[in-house]
């Protein structure tokens, strides 16, 4: 039986995708990136991080590029970039809709 496809891109998932935009990353790098980027607002637990990486690899959003001892490094690929752009556009449009609405 095939694994259930990704239905929702959560905030944490979006930040994980974002972390790959500039360079290849391993688990620790990703956690540090998210902590720094969000000033500690978004915390990612180790279980969440590994589940997201496994899911993203299954869905071919990222690929493993290196294994050094127990450290695995990944990079984002086209399908992942496409998802990131789509989600970012959706969020921008959402913010723009919100800002254009007058507050009484």
């Amino acid at each position: 039986m095939a694994k259930k496809a990704l239905e929702v891109l959560t905030e944490t998932m979006l930040y994980v995708l974002m972390s790959f935009l500039k360079k290849e990353m391993c688990g620790i790098d990703i956690a540090e990136f998210i902590e720094k980027k969000t000033n500690g607002r978004v915390k990612i637990g180790p279980g969440t991080l590994y589940t997201i990486l496994a899911k993203f690899e299954d869905e071919e959003f990222i690929v493993e590029t290196a294994v050094e001892g127990r450290k695995r490094t990944y990079k984002i690929i086209e399908k992942g970039m496409e998802l990131y752009r789509t989600e970012l556009a959706r969020l921008k449009s959402c913010v723009s809709d919100g800002e254009s609405e007058e507050v009484l």
Partner: protein
Amino acid sequence: MKLVKKLFPVNIYDIVATESYLKDMAAEGLFFKKLGIFAYFEKAEPEKVTYRLGPLTKAEKKPSEEILEDYKRYGWEYVCTIAKLFHVYISKEKQPTEIHTDPITQGYTYEYLNKKLKFSAILCGVLLCLSIVMILYAVLFNDQPVLFAVKYGQSAYQSLMVIFGVFSIYQTARGSIKIKKLITSLQEGISITHKKSYKKVIIIMFYLASL
């Protein structure tokens, strides 16, 4: 190291209750080590700790070394794997970072367990049907079913099989429902509330899902 043996008084499919029970035992100085028919605890100074159960996401005896190392960085130590269903972790930190911080993502970790439970339910059903057919065959297609039963002890054996089957289906179905509810709530973005009061009951568990 001498271990204290105790009956496990909560249903392990009730994840939050299991975590709470283990935490309470640690507060009494009994630290969970492993689970078979009985639960085994190591005696030590009472301590306030946190336990978390994580479902197996594939067939494995324990999590990979890479995962264990990273969990350790967050203060989570691997304790054991119970009934081929859950990995158990302990944290001695006052306010540890949760292993799972995104409920929707956490929902995905239950896919394998959910599939396993469905398979177990089907297996139980097949075993039960088979036992009923065998009993009916002995009763209906035998000239002297009672004599046959006494002579070969078949009925007693098969009746036990049926009782075991019904009990196993009940346990598996209960577990399945609990896990299904949990998955639904996680998929809706509702995080697990880790504090729970629980009733201690004597349960003899048949973890058919571990087959």
